[in-house]
Symmetry: C2
Subunit: 139 residues, 2 copies
């Protein structure tokens, strides 16, 4: 898997920490140790999902669209990650073989169930929880 989900959670946690004023992609990128464009690219996805609002211009920047306690990690996952965690065959299996013909349907069901259980955990955690755990750690 890529780190888009992790970076997106990081972005939102930084925005949650300074929830009053809009932050520049520059500042957020500094915490992540990456390029501002990487941050702005994820802002696109997060804005489309309604998790942040961002404005261009001199006093622009990004801001949470709602309270951190109302943004679950599943919201974030769905916003930035389209794929299932399990990858099917790179090339379709042999349709002339009984197993090759039917295995993908069977695996799709199992993979979907595993993914659902994984997503349930993400749905129980919010950006506020992440921020709180970080504050607790640093005490």
């Amino acid at each position: 898997m890529n780190s888009r989900f992790t970076i997106a959670v990081h972005i939102l946690t930084v925005l949650a920490h300074k929830h009053d004023e809009p932050l520049k992609s520059d500042v957020v990128a500094n915490s992540i140790n990456t390029n501002p464009v990487v941050v702005r690219r994820l802002w696109s996805a997060l804005a489309k999902a309604g998790l942040i609002v961002s404005r261009t211009g001199a006093t622009g920047g990004g801001k949470l669209a709602r309270e951190a306690s109302m943004i679950t990690l599943l919201d974030v996952y769905n916003a930035v990650e389209a794929r299932c965690v399990f990858a099917m065959h790179a090339n379709p299996p042999n349709k002339r073989c009984l197993i090759g013909k039917n295995i993908q349907l069977v695996l799709e069901d199992i993979f979907a169930e595993a993914q659902r259980e994984m997503e349930k955990v993400l749905a129980r955690k919010t950006i506020a929880d992440v921020a709180a755990a970080i504050m607790k750690n640093c005490r």
Copy 2:
């Protein structure tokens, strides 16, 4: 994610279907629509995990090491896939930032919990279940 897990399950399901005799990597690769070397590379991992036995030589091939009903998909997953489904930051975040310094520890916990729930589903399914579902489909 890559398709190693999917291909490994496919391999074991083919071996389960003809469980009496050892099958050549050639035959298994044909069902998957790939190269025999791809199959043999996964056999290494599966053999190390004790899921299959394979023999070289004229009448050689691969064979399940135990009954298909005693091989869970979690056994297979652990045999071929080392990584967590979630990837941490590609480059470490900024340690001088409160959030950058602590977020990985917090996310590791959450990711581990999500992975555990996902693995529980895999632990409930066996290669025999997969084979049975395929037979049911083709009826």
